[in-house]
Every structure is written in C-alpha cells, then in structure tokens.
Symmetry: C2
Amino acid sequence: LTDKTPAALVEHALAGNRRAIGRILTWVENARPEGIEALRLLYPRTGHARIVGVTGAPGSGKSTLVNRLALEERKRGRSVGIVAVDPSSPISGGAVLGDRVRMEELFGDPEIFVRSMASRDALGGLAETTGQVISVLDAVGKDIVIVETVGVGQAEVDIVQEAHTTIVVVIPGMGDDIQAMKAGLMEIADLFVVNKADRPGADNVAAQIRQMLSLAPASAARRPLILKTEATTGKGVAELVTAIDEHWTYLNEERRLDRYQNERARRQVLALARDTLSARLERLSTDDPSVARLIEDVADKRVDPYSAAEQVLEKYFPVRSPDRNP
Amino acid sequence: LTDKTPAALVEHALAGNRRAIGRILTWVENARPEGIEALRLLYPRTGHARIVGVTGAPGSGKSTLVNRLALEERKRGRSVGIVAVDPSSPISGGAVLGDRVRMEELFGDPEIFVRSMASRDALGGLAETTGQVISVLDAVGKDIVIVETVGVGQAEVDIVQEAHTTIVVVIPGMGDDIQAMKAGLMEIADLFVVNKADRPGADNVAAQIRQMLSLAPASAARRPLILKTEATTGKGVAELVTAIDEHWTYLNEERRLDRYQNERARRQVLALARDTLSARLERLSTDDPSVARLIEDVADKRVDPYSAAEQVLEKYFPVRSPDRNP
C-alpha cells in the first residue's frame, strides 16, 4: 500500500486486501473526506450482501452467537463481515470492545472480516456510519454482513433498520425490564432467539414472546419465528441460519427487497443532507457573533429558544418551495 | 379547563393545575404547535429546577430508586417532577411503562408530578422532547426534576446531558457487558450508585468502578462519588440525596452553572433549527418528483448517495457565509 489515495485503496480493497479495507473503514469512521471519496467509488458495487442485524440486552451472549453464526455461514460457503457496534464513550469515542477476544477460528479465516466500531457522534451519526461500514464490506464482496449492537436504545433500533433480517436475542430470567425491551424490539424483530436456552425459564421466555406477538395487529408483516440457541456450544445455530435464509427468500418475493432498497436510499440521502446542514448550523453558532449572542440571550431567558431558532433559519436557511414539476 | 388555548392552559399550569400541565405535556410530546406556543410562554419561568438524571442498565432497579429519591426530596420540602423515558416502539410509539405501577405514596402527593414518555421519534428527537418536558415541569415550579432513562444507548446519553447531576446505577453481578456499559457511562456520571447493595458482589462492583475512575485523566472534572443503596428498603437514599445536594453546590461554584446553561441553550437552539431543516428535507423527498427520482437512482446504484445529497442541498439549501460582523 504505497499509493494511499482513495482510488488506489479502493482498488486494493476490491482485490481483497484487508489492510486497504481497514484503512477505508477508519476513514469512514472518522468522517474523513477520503472515506466519502472511497464510498463514492465503492457505491456501484454495493447491493450484493445480505445484512443481518443482531441486537438484544447486555449479557444476552450476542457476541458469542454472532461468532457462531459467522462460522455456520462459512460452512455454507459464504464470506462474512462482522460489524460490532459498541455503546462506548461519547467523549473519548474509544472502542471498548475493540480488543474483545473473538474466537480464534474467526481470525484465521481470510473470508471473515471483523470490525469493532465506537459511537463517536451524538448527532445520530452512529446508524449512518454503521450503514457506511456495511456498504464497504458489501462492496468488497462479503456475502453476509452481520451487525451486532450492544444495547436496546433508539440508536440500536436505527442501526438494525439497515439490516435485511433483524434478530433479537433474549435470555431466560432477564428481570422486570425485559417486558419493556421486548416491546421496543418487537416491531423490528424478524426472528427472536432465546439464547442460553439450557437455562431454566427458556420455554417461559419463548412463551412470553409468543404471547406478545399474538397481540400484534393481524395486518402486521410476517410473524417472527422464535428459535432457541446455546451459543457457547453452537446448538441451534444451524437452524437459525436456515431461518435467516428463509427470511431472505421471503424478502425476495413481491418486490419487498426493492422497497427496502428504496427506503434505505432515501434514508441515506436525507441523512447525509441533514448532516451537512447540521454541521453548517454548528459552525454558525461560533462563527457568527450575532448567533452566539442570541444563544446567550436564550441562556439568560431573554429570548425563547423557538424564536432564536427561527431567527437563525430566516437568516441562513430561507425557505424554498419544492419544485413540483416532474 | 374550558378555555383550552395555550395561553389559558399555561396560566392554569402555573397555578398548579395538574390537568393543564398534563395537557401541555401531551402537546409537547406530540410536537403540536400548541406545545411550542406554551413553551414560548413558559420559557421565561424556567431555570429554577435542579435536574437529576438517573440511568443504567435494564434490571438495575432505577424506577424504585427514583421513587425513593422523590420521597426523600419531599421530606426535605422540595416539590418533585419525574420524567420516565421509555425505550419503546419506534413504530407505535406506545409508552410501555406508562402504566407501570408507581408507589402509591407518590401518587397521593400533589407536590409530585410523574410523567412517562415514549420514544416516538427516530431523528434524535427524544432528547429534545425530554428537554421540553423538563422545561415545562421546571417552569411550573418543580424544585427537582428527576429524569429516568431505561437503557444505556446514545439516546440515553443525550438525554442525561440535560441533567445538572447524572446518576449511573449499577448492580452486583451484571455480567460481561457491564464493562462496556460502564465505559460508556463513565464520562457522563456525576455519581455512581451500586443498587441492590445487599447482594453479593456489591463491593466488587464498587471496586471495579473505582479502578476505572482511577484511570481517568487527572485533568478530568470532579471525581464521581460511589454510593451504595438498597432501593427496595430505602437504605442509602438519604445519603444519595445529600450527595446530589453537594454536587449542586459544586456546580454553583466558579460559574460552572452559567456555562451549563449556555451550553444547554446552544444545544436547544441548534436542535430546533436542525429539526425544522430535517422536516423540510423529509417533505422534499416526497413533494419534489425530481428528488424522489434521485432517490430511486441511488437505490438502483446509478447515483451515489453523496452526490444525491449534494444535489438536494444545492437546489434547496444554498450556502450562505456566516456574518462575522459583531
């Protein structure tokens, strides 16, 4: 890697060079212009990978399950990308799980690429960056990209919206808050996995989920399956991969995938435009002294924040009517 | 409540009418124009309340602890608002904890106002709406507003940034992922609480936190205290309230509170402006057929999303240089 321009690295990445892929991902994560340049070049190559999201509460054994999933996909001859998204520091942005030990089997295999990501950006940028990392792994030819998120907040929900198939992992005996979590995750789940299914209470959790699902409106999409796994031994993982495959078949029926691609494109374009506008706003708050003064007036309760926001918009972002002509 | 204009309801709310407060909060949560109108009127009355954020992983006993905190604050003669933020459905927006049973003692007391909130908005709007709910409770005269968030994701971090004092709740024996969670929450915590401290391992968790804190740079702000509580019995809660009071005293030294208010005002103004721009973008994607077509081109990989976003911005949001004259 002597020539480190985006164009050169993209070429190396497309040829399977792991260091080139890694460097492009670092650019993307750090929101560097080189990352955007690389993504522009890679974009026409995307659209091949199947994206599988895995989410659930802390302690549910997601990482082990993801490792097992990756191994099973490899057995079926597919190359695998893993993106582990960490709920790490809003300030230092350090990837606390970056050094988490992944199973050795994974690291020896050139057809598996693992990336740990930190959540650096408070402006909802995590989902977007994750989407870009997925796009890179998709473009360089991974058949399956597994996105693992730790946590059950809105950011995680946003992230798994990037996935074709979303797996929600629960375990027996998770306490009171499981009700709350399940409700939040109910509508994004394509598959439920009761992991650590050897523990007492596994059937009980499965029954709880089944009952909540039965309350969903009949108009709702395909009812999610509920599977049991023991990630530490690998039990149930082959069945899980088969269920993921079946969900993929379902998506390919009746143009569902087209709608998904269109919705994803819409989200990407709007998010990028929004980010640019957001960055412009941030700069105005320091670069224009009258905006800085306005903010002080808000802090001192002389002006309300709504009027202040309106003044900023009027000055810098005047409304233009949409062009309705086709 | 016969006159249901914002001005009339604001007057009733300021006089302590709970139904008026409730209706204003519903407007605010549903992003209704009446809510903005009410907030404009209430804004000059804000700035009195102390805002306490309570966050931590699911199952840590946050709700019970918040109830205990509220009772202890009442003992000290302060009126209390509680805002419970739920990680609920991105689709239905239902507040799954809305019907959670709060201790009866709380509900009988006219000086306590409890509000459960759902997370309706995927665009990072939850923190903003929470901030507005806090502002309403502040303006109507609550001395303390306690914000409880379920979860440990970025959205929760954004929410607790609204707080003067942030309490991170952990419990003994939370499993592997506690490391990850603590790192994420380490830098936002003003106080750590080891709840369920009667369980084995409480000292161990406290020691783990202490050790992680000892690794923080010396330049960092005030080192957080670590307290132990048993929320179910109330043990340790009086000490916790005293620690919150001490943190308030600390904030009032050396103009730290002014800086906090200014930063909060900046965040509010920028978030409001950002939301308006974001809504304009969303509308364009349906109202302007050429934008809709551009998105289809992105979905079909004929145009990359970066170029598409640029085209939308050029057409509707041309850059205006900041006015640098004071």
